[in-house]
Symmetry: C2
Subunit: 463 residues, 2 copies
């Protein structure tokens, strides 16, 4: 059994467990009360705040505990936007932020607030200059993750923070994926994080608002946590969260080096072991524990199930594994293949043998899924193909990812070089995966045209 | 050591502790994931939801877990108001709701929403007819607590629910103080509760929305908890919360009978042991474990400290014990004395000896505080008294509760029957405590007049 989904949630750190147990007895009372049980709870809360602030690199009175990373983001964005209302309402986010950031931006947009979504390159990184270009006189807030949760790419946060600072615009950094490894560098204004990403318990997020940042908490008033996180403090869990953050930081350099070596192995060997694979994300500027790749002609959900049966827990950004049946917005923004997508995110304690076993199992699993789907090597085909000489039409309407790409791959050799294939499809993933396939196979993606049902994706054979 | 503040937070129930420990190992993963660790977490979450729904008396799919009782209230009110936006925006709350409800009402009012605050009687209860009168064609939502958190008075929830149902208006019941004892009766539409009031861990609230109630979750979208409670589920704590709710319910009848006997003892004996005391709240229709009283001529903060030194942890609604220096809104709405206020709320495991010890210690503690403050029996007095024959003026401006009342009590005997005393005071508590003193002492409260600084409170000597 190997759990390779630490970027979703990490198993509870032994130190977190120990701290949780100890504070169940000492930290259940209301820290706002003046009697001894309350004072004891207050001391635990204060100590946890100091420890967390030290790990973040801020003052304790700049940090509050929220019920989750998601809630910290929601409160942080809403409070910062309201605090700068006089300046304007313009919000900047990157296209690859966590859904908590993008959903906050959607609410803001629905309320009439202008939002600029900064694009990323094919590795998933923003460029500092694109943030500089996005800034306007009415920009209230800019948001940028420290590193991407799906592909591991590190963002140029310090540079973007400098640009924002020079423009007088606060930058909120979602540090959920990186805070376990190091403090966020640069002159940022707000920061959010989530304890269960570093082995702390669930139910604890961090919201940091630097002194001097205008901030107006939204929603009903509440006296707790400086008015920035309503509700009774999740106290034993907060103590456990702070304790485990210190513990993971103490071993961060060592753990990072080990994980980086293991993910480097996967990055290097998967393309050699499995045909038609695209490893995505920046190979250098990245988190130590995450590696993500997509397998052509593979259905992500089946792949997840087969890997689970083989004893590996991983996640996927493929459309068939999301409840909305759309591919991950991160992969879409990067313009990379989404079909057969797998994110491997290793917990610090990952054994080398488990990675090796994963590498030995993966090729067979992928081949098995491809065989079942009738990937291009085989002759079976269910899509209707209409031959107009040098312009084939493939009707894959009603067929789900990865079928439209499989059908395209099967017939591309049937048109002469210079000829085109039109793939009719109504699956969302096709919009992303057909261009990505062209990029991978050196064919020309001509473009998308409206069709009776869905769209027609036109590909020209180049070689 | 005796902890008598269960209405703030209860120590962790042994069953909660056990369930928490067990689910730390099984319930840390993301319940939205399809691999085995995720499926295990999902099973725990589903089982907890079923157990909690059974205790509430609702369907599992009507119940979501929020990060706290406060957040459940905030989300519940906002969602119900938005869901009924087409009908209107009128909100009804009682004057003695928990601050989470009143703060939600404040936000709504600030946003232009009309709010009716239903008054309570001197025992702290609303009358069903006052809710009937408050209903309007544009009423979107009514809120009523099942029982009051400061004085223990039970509210006529079933009757009010019936009235609201007949008018087609949803009723939200804040059941934080009563859910440990029994399901809420009547045809309510929404319900909220908080696990750490029944010995569950902090970080878990319940929000129940009956099928058929129009509900539009506010804030950024999130897929978790049916879109009604954003953020990663606080899973091991949720399991512990549900387990301990079952456990306290199993012993509820027995525990309630015991606690009722103990609080009855305090209700009956405190007025005999301590002079000048008002026991507040309904003597019959009340929670089993709460009893609240106020001591004339006593400073609540000093009283709390002295009781803490004597080994008793209690809370207080006196102005001097709140960060805003205003008396509890509950005591204010009831029109009862707020000075020297003490709420005793007993956990189920309270030992009879501890209650007896409390009763033996209390008279000396109160007498000591009164002596220090120079209560009426003594001759010391610092307020300037201006004698105009049958109309004395006492200048207590700048003096804090309970001094204005003490000064009034000292001089009332100096005016003839029919004469008046004008107390000049700028302490908020005087507005509540001077009329309450008149009621207790059978003197006539004439009224309040504006003065240069603060107000003049006019009292006529009747006896």
């Amino acid at each position: 059994m190997a759990y390779f989904d630490a970027a979703s949630a990490a198993p509870l750190h032994p130190v977190a467990r120990q701290a949780l147990l100890a504070s169940l007895d000492e930290g259940w009372a209301d820290p706002a009360r003046l009697y001894r049980e309350g004072r004891r709870a207050r001391m635990l809360l204060d100590a946890a705040r100091e420890a967390a602030a030290e790990a973040v690199g801020c003052r304790p009175d700049e940090l509050v505990f929220a019920p989750s990373g998601t809630r910290a983001v929601h409160s942080g964005i809403a409070g910062a936007l309201a605090g700068r209302r006089r300046v304007g309402r313009h919000l900047i986010v990157s296209a690859v932020e966590h859904s908590s950031v993008l959903h906050s931006a959607e609410v803001h947009r629905a309320d009439g607030g202008p939002v600029t979504e900064v694009a990323v390159d094919r590795a998933g990184a923003v460029s500092p200059s694109s943030y500089a270009e996005a800034l306007r006189p009415d920009t209230a807030l800019a948001c940028l993750q420290s590193a991407n949760h799906e592909v591991g790419t590190a963002q140029p946060v310090a540079e973007v923070a400098g640009i924002c600072r020079a423009a007088g615009v606060p930058l909120l950094v979602d540090a959920a994926q990186s805070l376990a490894w190091a403090p966020v560098e640069g002159d940022w204004s707000l920061l959010t994080a989530s304890a269960h990403k570093w082995g702390g318990p669930s139910g604890v997020g961090l919201l940091v608002v630097r002194k001097g940042v205008r901030f107006a908490p939204q929603g009903p008033a509440d006296e707790r946590e400086s008015g920035r996180a309503a509700g009774f403090e999740n106290l034993p869990a907060i103590v456990a969260a702070a304790a485990s953050l210190r513990a993971v930081r103490a071993r961060a350099a060592e753990d990072a080096a080990r994980l980086r070596e293991l993910t480097e192995r996967i990055r290097a060997r998967v393309p050699r072991l499995v045909p038609e694979v695209e490893v995505v994300g920046d190979p250098e500027r990245r988190l130590p524990g995450i590696v993500t790749f997509s397998c052509l002609y593979v259905d992500g959900e089946t792949l997840l199930h087969e890997l689970d049966r083989a004893g590996f827990s991983v996640s996927s950004g493929s459309s068939c594994t999301s409840s909305t049946l759309t591919p991950s917005h991160v992969l879409r923004a990067m313009g990379v293949l989404s079909e057969g997508n797998i994110r491997v995110s290793l917990p610090p304690e990952t054994a080398e043998e488990d990675v090796e076993r994963f590498l030995s199992v993966l090729p067979g699993v992928v081949a098995g899924v491809r065989e079942k789907l009738g990937a291009p090597v085989s002759a079976a085909g269910a899509a209707a193909v209409e031959d107009r000489g040098d312009a084939l039409v493939v009707d894959a309407v009603g067929r789900r990812c990865p079928i439209p790409v499989i059908e395209l791959a099967k017939v591309i050799g049937d048109v002469p070089v210079g000829g085109t294939v039109r793939v009719l499809a109504d699956d969302e993933a096709a919009r992303l995966d057909i261009p990505a396939w062209c990029e991978m196979r050196g064919q020309e993606y001509v473009g998308e045209e409206p069709a009776d049902r869905g769209s027609a994706y036109v590909v020209r054979r180049v070689s």
